[in-house]
Symmetry: C2
Subunit: 263 residues, 2 copies
């Protein structure tokens, strides 16, 4: 009995030593690569790569400009950030701010108080596409193919904001740099499927504005809206080029996007 | 011998079981509160409170405006962020971007290519003061007392940027909302002690601009610099009110600051 107990303890000790050493070796690395025998969120879920977190905050603060692709060491971080909750938490926080601001603005009876929303990665998510492309550089043909399928998931918090703005009596204009000729049917269908119905106008890029930067194109659209008498109370986009230029609106809200940069 | 081995193993087993259980219980919580028997960085060191991380990114992206104090649940997060490295990592990343941009701008021989730098939490750190105040709301008298001591630590990466800009031949103007009458001697002394020597001009708030918002005051200063012929190539500040308004410069760089908001 004593011998069998000893053998048992000895075996348990060995197991524990091995397990403990494995654990103590792996926990500090867990954020970088999940060991197969234990669940751990992948890198980026909570902002756990300090250098990539710095980079992401720089993107959001518009300090990093003109970058063509996610830095190679941050591809795993961005994948984790987008897929494991922090992205949706961040979008939700921005939406909370926008809704709190909208609640303080009383739309006038003339129906001219308006909000402007962007499409890609503001109302609709391209995360599945960019994840499949390993967050690589912009590929116009492949992106058009993806967008033409009309299957971009809606971003739930933004859909809620959209309904909230409509419910408050604001006009909602959806303004996108997507090409009207090739994506003019898939885009409204995709928006409707994702719950974005009842907007006042969807403005897409026509043949006259091809080749313009997004900032130039969107500034012209907003200037036209202002000329029609609309007061742009809020403007929501995932790119700073949505939020800078002319007639940007009384308040702008930057939705996070560490996947790509549009000038 | 067998018995003593058994006793040894038994004790080791118990120790390991206790240690393992303690470890497995505490590691997931370690980010929220360091167990006394094991070193672990406090909350916020790497952005490990997801809601506070969302809030911090909103501050940096200028989505959160007009906040009067750090949200109570994020005080520990901000303390950890500021003190445990991520803040300095983030500042370093911004400085890298600014220096890379400055390297592409060739100052002309006329000596009119200029940069504008802010003082508080751009060149000099108020982290010791705000940490001691538990990141509470702005307290003008206490802050003036702190600033008058002239002991704010310099922010090393910014000091490097300052020297780099001077070395490249830019004029450097230091523009601060600090009151000239009360802090007009401690501020340049503090800057010099922190390695900020050889700037072209230090502009402080005089009696004529008391009561103006920081954005109005700094816009007027930059407009005056532009009227003197200076071309503001870069503008670095920790507040969006440093970086918006008139004559903001060709590029603006937002240094992180989750401690306070200046309109």
């Amino acid at each position: 009995m004593a011998r069998s107990m000893s053998a048992h303890c000895s075996k348990l000790t060995t197991t524990l030593v091995v397990f403990f050493l494995a654990w103590s070796n792996h926990v500090p690395e867990a954020a970088e690569g999940a060991p197969s025998w234990f669940w751990w969120p992948p890198s980026g879920g909570g902002g756990d790569d300090p250098n990539c977190l710095s980079w992401r905050v720089m993107v959001e603060a518009n300090n990093a400009k003109g970058w063509r692709t996610v830095p190679a060491p941050c591809v795993g971080y961005v994948r984790g950030y987008m897929a494991w909750g922090q992205y949706y938490r961040d979008v939700g926080s921005v939406v909370d701010q926008a809704a709190a601001y909208a609640a303080q603005v009383a739309p006038a009876d003339d129906g001219l108080d308006a909000w402007v929303l962007d499409v890609d990665d503001t109302c609709l998510s391209n995360q599945p596409y960019y994840q499949a492309k390993q967050f690589g550089p912009y590929d116009p043909a492949a992106f058009k193919m993806w967008a033409s399928r009309g299957i971009c998931p809606g971003i739930p918090a933004m859909q809620w904001l959209f309904q909230t703005l409509k419910g408050r009596g604001f006009r909602v204009f959806i303004v996108t740099g997507r090409d009207e000729e090739t994506l003019g049917s898939s885009t409204p269908a995709n928006l409707a499927a994702a719950g974005f119905s009842g907007y006042d106008r969807l403005v897409m890029r026509g043949s006259g504005s091809r080749g313009q930067s997004s900032m130039v194109f969107k500034s012209a659209v907003r200037t036209q809206l202002a000329a029609e008498g609309y007061r742009i109370r809020g403007n929501v986009g995932d790119q700073w080029s949505d939020l800078q230029g002319d007639c940007v609106g009384d308040r702008v809200f930057k939705v996070p996007n560490p996947m790509y940069f549009v000038p």
